[in-house]
Each structure stands twice: as C-alpha cells, then as structure tokens.
Subunit: 290 residues, 4 copies
C-alpha cells in the first residue's frame, strides 16, 4: 500500500478530478521561458517528465503513448525516409521514429531547450540515445516558425507531439487548419501526418476542432484513442493523409512493414491498431457528432 505522505503531484486529470501521484525522487524542477518542467521519479511509474502539472511521460507506460503516436503513421506510409517531429522533447518520439530502418533523416523541432537538455541528462531510459543517432537533428525553435521557414519540403511523415489542444491559447494555432495547410506544403504529396488530440471525452469541443481541421486539410483521417495509466484519462490520436486511408491498413501489412524495417514494439501491432481504429472515438454521454 502506497503511503501518501511527503511530495505529491496533484494532477488535474480530466476536467473534474485530480490524480494523486507520489513523488519518490526529484531530479529537477524549473521554470523555463515556456513552461514549468519537473523531472521526477513517481511511485509505480518510475522516471517521469511533468510539464505545467501534467504528466507527460513515465518510464512505465510512455511506450503506450509513443508507440501509438508514431507507429501507425509510420506503418501507413510505405517507405518513410524523412520524418518531422514537432514537440516530443523527451526524445521518445524520436526513438520510435528511428526504429525504422527506412528512415534516413528525422528532424525534431522543440521550442524548449531546457526540456531537451534535461531529458538528455535524466531520461536516457526514454530517449535511449536517440539524440546521438546520426540520422537525427534537433532544432530548438517554435514549431510554427519552423514550418514557415523550413527549407526541406519533402517530409514523408509528420508527427505532432504537442501540448494538449485545451492547454491554453498558445496551443490552438498548433491544431489549426492553417498550420495543417502549411505542414502539407513541406510534406510529400503522399505524406502522412499524425497528432495527439487531447481527450475527446473530457475536452470534446477541442477534440472536434482538431478533427474538423484535419478533415478539411486531408482526404483521409483515422481516429483512435487509448487510456494511459499514469494520465488517468484517455488520449486521442488522429492520423491523416491524402494518399493512404488508415482504415484500410490491414494487420498483416502493418506487421510486415514493421518486420521489414526491423521495428520491435511493446504494445502496438497490426491487429491492435485495427482494433483501435474500429473502436474509434469516445464521447461523453449524450453527445452526438454530426
């Protein structure tokens, strides 16, 4: 039985509740120019990154989030060579991308140098040295600015690992139609984009905002979600492409592509992704999307 005394994280889980996690160790707590970050060890979950009081990643379960964010989009693309990640400071999204032997270049753009530097120092268990992979480049820059100015315009896959769409006014432009349009400009025509999309159950309007913008910008979208144990709530993802329909990605093809590219996952596989995409979205009772 966990003794809830001493240092605790009180996380605003969902809209109506709080989640209480016990902190066993503190590596660093800092106010950066962009956010408050904490690198801590949490009872039952191990090393963790917390931003603005929200658990971002924990050693025990970040694989669920990061595999679900990255692998379906990568699997949907027949040969992802150039990948752009926006956000993802702890390096685990980068790690997932670099698993693919097809990848020749992965650009990761994060606004907050401190997140990246502290992650390098304290979260080796997450980035697994990805920052030193010769295929990886880390750019410290506002994602909005990067997309505006990028000289490279041939990304196969774009992965948006961003603050939640309900996390305040700074978050909204990162889920706007305009942003998605600009991202398309630096993607190949058959590119695939994926974004985490907050919590459709608790933040339905914010989720629909993301969904509608992606639906407008791309021919195909696919919605899926899961529960992340350390978050206490669900997380949604939306995958989008003009060329490939995520609903048509069959388990065998998913698994074959993983196998061919030397990718080993803990949680996701073709069958499970098919399941998730069939499950689709979860809305609060009484909500009927048009």
């Amino acid at each position: 039985m966990v003794e809830f005394e001493g240092l605790i994280i009180l996380e605003p889980a969902g809209k109506y509740t709080r989640h209480v996690l016990k902190v066993n160790k503190v590596y660093a707590v800092e106010k950066t120019p962009y956010q408050e970050i904490a690198f801590v060890e949490i009872e039952g979950f191990g090393k963790a990154l917390v931003i603005d009081n929200f658990i971002q990643s924990t050693e025990a379960d970040e694989h669920i989030y990061h595999e679900l964010l990255v692998q379906p989009a990568m699997a949907l693309h027949p040969k992802p060579e150039k990948v752009l990640i926006i956000g993802g400071g702890e390096g685990a999204t980068l790690r997932e991308v670099l698993k693919h032997s097809t990848v020749k270049r992965a650009v990761m753009v994060d606004i907050d140098r401190d997140v990246v530097e502290f992650s390098k120092k304290y979260l080796e268990v997450m980035h697994k040295g990805s920052f030193h992979d010769p295929r990886a480049e880390v750019v410290i820059m506002d994602g909005l600015v990067y997309v505006e100015k990028a000289s490279e315009r041939d990304f196969d896959v774009v992965i948006l690992d961003l603050t939640d769409p309900y996390a305040g006014p700074a978050a909204k432009p990162l889920y706007s139609y305009e942003f998605y349009s600009k991202l398309k400009n630096i993607m190949k025509r058959d590119g695939v984009l994926v974004t985490q999309a907050g919590s459709s159950y608790f933040y339905t309007q914010e989720y629909l905002y993301v969904k509608e913008n992606l639906s407008r910008a791309f021919k195909y979208i696919g919605e899926y979600w899961t529960w992340i144990p350390s978050f206490a709530v669900n997380v949604n993802f939306i995958i989008a492409s003009d060329a490939y329909n995520p609903l048509e990605l069959e388990p065998d093809e998913f698994d074959k592509r993983m196998r061919e590219r030397g990718v080993k996952n803990v949680y996701i596989d073709g069958r499970r992704f098919k399941g998730l995409i069939l499950v689709g979205v979860i809305y609060p009772r009484g909500f009927t999307p048009q």
Copy 2:
C-alpha cells in the same frame, strides 16, 4: 475550474495513485453487513454509487461499463431467454439485459439488500425501473449459495457483475474454477458467461487468475477492456462459452441481433466490439503472458 474544497472522495485508483472526486451531494452513507456504501452526487459525473471507497457507477459513464459488460455476451448468444446476473445491485446490468425482447426471465442475485434498496430509492437514473419489470426477479443471497442451490438450471446467459478480483479474500471464490464449473451446471450447453475481471494493467496476477480459470472451464474466451472515466483506470471483461467464439462475432451480426431484439445502445455496437476484442488486453511493460 472545480474548487477542491469540502467533501471529497479519495479513491484508490490503480495500485499507486489516488483519484480525487468532488462530492456535491450525499444521499446516504451506510455500513451494511457486507460493505460500506455511499450514494452521492459527484462533480462532472452526477449520481454515483461508491462501495468500499471505489466508484462503482456514475450517471455520466455507467453506460460504458454496463453496455460493455452485458451487450457482447447477449449479442453472442443467438436467443437469450433466461439470464442470470450475480451482483449488479444498482440495477443497471438488469436494465441492459431487459433491453432484449428475447428475454423472458432475468434473475438478479445480490448479497446486499441495502445496495438494492438504496439504489431503488436514489438511482432511478440507473435502473430505470427495471426492478419492476415483470420479467425480473431479485434474489437477496450470496451468489455462491445461489449457484449451489438454484432450481433453475437452464440459463442462456450468466453475467457476473462482482467486486474486483483483487478486492480481498471474499472476492477470490467468485472468480474460481470451481465457481465457473458450478455456473456451467445451471447454464444451457450453449450458454454464454461474462465477467468483469478487474484491471489487467494494475492487477495482472489477479486478472490472469480469472482468465486461466475461465479458459479451463470453457472452450472459447474473448478478452476486452476499456477505460472508465470516473474510475481513472481500465476495466477488463472476459466472455466465455463452449458454443460460440466471441472472436468470430462479426459487426453485422452483432448489430442485426441488437436491431431484431429492439436494443438501443449508447456506446457499444458491432464494429466497436470487434475493435475491442482485437485490442485484447493491456499488461504492464515487461510482462509477457505465456
């Protein structure tokens, strides 16, 4: 923003954390001979039943739990006429069963008269009058005893809506091979059984205990899980039968059976069930089931 002051429920969510819910109203808090029960109204979730500090059902999201517990088992059976429910005191499981026009008789056995009586009084929003349906019979009795003595031995579907398998020594016999064997004795040969099975992520050993016992007792089993918002954690279900394979229940057949029996659901449908059963189980990182 919810102001966390005054009456609160501190729920031992998962194994390592607590979930903080705000209580807006208290209808009744009682120690019964079996457990501590509370009927309250919770911020963001409405009316709720709490047993031994665990949220059991809330107005906002009990449909997710109860539809997932009941409807796949009912859908798997081609013509469920006699249904046995063990547990389920708030009457929502009974409500789901009675949705089916095929059902001629539903016996609900709950050990705790107080849960049933208080639910009748305070949780109309859940039982929706099911207790007064002429097809329903409520028996106040220990489920273990009922199964031993039952004169009716022709149930088509058995639904186990019980306390969690990790909820202490009293829970264990309700998930034992012996109990499942005795249940088979009062089921038709093509009967379908379903049980909630706790949380495979946090209580893996307890989940496997249930799974192994069901696998031994029945030819087919099907595993699925979901996140319940007010629980903060995941809930697993296992469906079992000697006659019907839950993995082969196709979305169209599921939806057709619902349609023919006049069943309307909020969350579950054939496609979503197919998805859930493909997703299967969630285990903690590093755990590899044999």
Copy 3:
C-alpha cells in the same frame, strides 16, 4: 495510521493550505438557504459540524473553542443574569452560558433553522440538552434584525459566535462599529461583549477591522487566541466592556466566580486566561500594528 481513502473533508485551513480530515460517518449534508451544512463523524475528532467546508465544532475539541469564547466574558461580569448569544447554532455556546447558576435567561439568535434542528438531532454530545433548559430561548432570526428590534434591552453579556470575519460580504456587518453600537443599546451599561474574531495570523486586516471597531465602541478590550486542533489554525477572541477591564481579571477572582456559580470547565481557568491575555495576539512576521 489513518488510511486516507474514501470520504474526506478538504478544508481550506488558513490562507495557503488545506487540511485533510477523514470522514467516518455522514449524518446529514444539506444546502440551507444560508449555507452548506454537514453533520459528520471525523477520524480522531468524533461528531462534527461543518459549514461551507469549514469545521465549526468537533466532539473532541469544541470545548476549547466554546469555553474560551464564553467563560472569560462570563467571568469578567460580576453577576451575569441575562445573556444574548448570536450564532452558535450547535448549542454548545448556550451550554457554556447555562453552566452559570446566576443566569436567569439566555437568548440564542441563529439565522439558520436547519443548523439548530440538525444539531438538536445529531449533536446532543455538544448541546447536552441546553435547548430544553427553561432559561433558554432560541430565536430563528438574522442577528442584525434581532438587534434592531429587540424589546429586551438589559443583557449583561453578549456573545457573538459568528461566521469568520473573512467569510464573505455577509460577514462584515456582523463585525462593524454600527453593529457593536446597536448591541450596546440592548446591553446594560456594565455589560460585557465577546466575539470570535477569525485568525489574526492569516487574516490580519479582517482581524484589525474587528479590533478597531470594538476599540471605538468600548472602553476596554482584551485580546486572546488559541489553536484549535481540528481547525489546524488559530482562532482569536476579543472581549470588550465599558465597565470591566479584562486585563485586570485576576486568576483567583476568575476561579472564585466559576466556583460560586457552579461552573466546571475542562480547559479554561483563571490562570490560563491570564496567560492567554498576556500572550495577546499573533501577527505574521513583518506586520507591525500601530
């Protein structure tokens, strides 16, 4: 070790912290026209009254508060026969007043009938039957109105057992110079008045407001405070009179008066009151009253 699960009270103790108390039993939780009230049993403190999320009185320690509120003012007066209490719905203030054999009549004015009725029902341990003492009269009325209209104008002692001075705009008039002036109009010329005065440490300005108004209205004032275990914070009291100086009430005289009037106290006596009045007030560091 207390297990903090299930029903909890999260009390806004002081200005910056919360106090977590475990609820073992709920008798009643109601929204009255004036406030939210809860009658509960609290781990380590027994039966308790909670108003608007603040602990008011608990079985274990209410004697500290009520003796300190009532007995010094009663002791200061040489022969208290008529006593007016404003507030004090749970009846413990009345109980303390009625201990004095000199008292012929005690009028208790509380705005909230529900507090009084529920207290009669659930808090016998506090009121000890005082409501049925033939010397007692309970008037359900706004204290401000009562004081305006009172036909009796010869109270020896007035005891203000009111909501905290920082508890919102409704509280302020009850601590105003105008109110004290009107109270003087219904007191004998050698009357004694006492009020609880919030927390001088956390709510310094609100405390000074009370103190200044009493200083303007009366010739003598005496300040004292104590810590109440279930409050987690300190509570201040101010005693005021035109005739008697509380600083000059010597321990022997205090004890003699108690003895002569048949009063037995648990905590307060002449020596302790002398000590408290010498200790005086506690202000936050850096605050210097003029």
Copy 4:
C-alpha cells in the same frame, strides 16, 4: 485563492489529519544516511526545510519556533556564555543564541552533514550567516555520542532542537532520563536546558515521557506551547534547571536581560513568555495528568 495543482507536500499533521502545502520551487530533495530532506519554497510560507515529510522550518514562521525554543532558556540564565545546541541543522537556533552579546562560544552538534551543508547553501534567510560567526562551532556528530565524549563540561545553556519524540525509535534516547543526566554532567550547576517536546495534544504519552524524565533530572521545569502556522499543530517546549525556576522569570527581568545583551526578537518578550508559561500545556479532552 491558491490553486492546488502540481507539486504538493502532504504532511502528516497531528495524528489524524494531513496538511496540504503547495510547493512553488524545489531546491534539493535528498536521501541522506539519516533521513529524507527537502529544501523547497512553499506557497505563503517561503523557503522551507522538510525532513521525513515534516515541515521543520519556513521562512515566514520559523522565528516563532526558534525564538520560543531559545530565548526563554537564554533569558532564564543570568549570564549565558557557553551554549550547546544539539540538532538545529538549519542554523536558526544558532542564530538566536548568537544574538546574545554574553555568548562567547556556541557549539552546534548535528548528526546530518547534508542538512547543514544544504542549509548553508539555500537557507541564508534562516541562518543569517551564523555558521561564520567566530563564536560558533559546528560539530557533525550524533548528539548521543557527543554528550558521551565532550571535553567541555561547562555549558551554561543546552538547547535540544531534535526530531519529534514520536518520530520513531531513534528519537526516544534523545528524550530519556539517561540522556538528560549525561547532559547535566557537561553543564554548569546552574545551567538551563530546554527541549522541544512534540505535541502534547496529539502525542500525549510521548510528551509525558519527556516531561517525566526532565522532572526527575532537574529541580524546576516549565512547560509552554504554541501553534506554528506551517505545522498546523501545536509544539510544546520544556525548560529545566536546578537553579532557576522558569515560573518565576518575571516579564521585566526577561526584557531587561534581552535589552542588556542586545537581543531583538520578533515574537517573544517577557510578557508573552509569562503568558505562555501560565497557559502551560494542552491535553486532549478527558486526559487528566496525575
């Protein structure tokens, strides 16, 4: 209104409750060989030292604790020149001792080098440079061992600033009759000793253990207590001497000694100490000391 999200300290205040404090900044959190220590900034209380989940000292209110621990004992002695402090790692007790111009030598013995070193670094606001005063010597050693081996045997005042008497088996010897006897051996015959003594309200037996041992070891004892805002509970102190009776220390003499020795205090003065010693002890209801 404080928003309770993010890093929190959940302090086991008293025996039955928890105190929730908001952490605004973390300087260091370490497991030393003896204890877990945290140097943090707490909402409303400023910089703070936390040991084993208990608040020890905060910027806002440590003066109440440290003045009450140190100044009465110093005032009781007519000319304190040599002072021994056991515990008191954050240096605030030392600061209070060094205020006295009579003091020629102050030896501070703390078992935990880390507490002292981190305090030097982060708690200048508390020690105010006392560690560098030429009259001060800091010895890193178990107090029990120091007292056994001390070559200096002429201390005028001994100040015990130790972990609470209810803080586990390691604490008990530090409050034993044997320890007090050994301390007498290294004190002058007219020496004065003072110890903090936990919380007589919540830990009555442990408090009485201290009191009885001191009563056996010394001719005079004086008991007093106060509430410390950041602790949420009361703290007791016991002062002991064979030569001077703390009950006979009159306010004027107290203030005169402070004045002559150039001591300026924030909270304590002669009148307030007289008050505190008259108030004496607080016990739980129903407890009657013999």
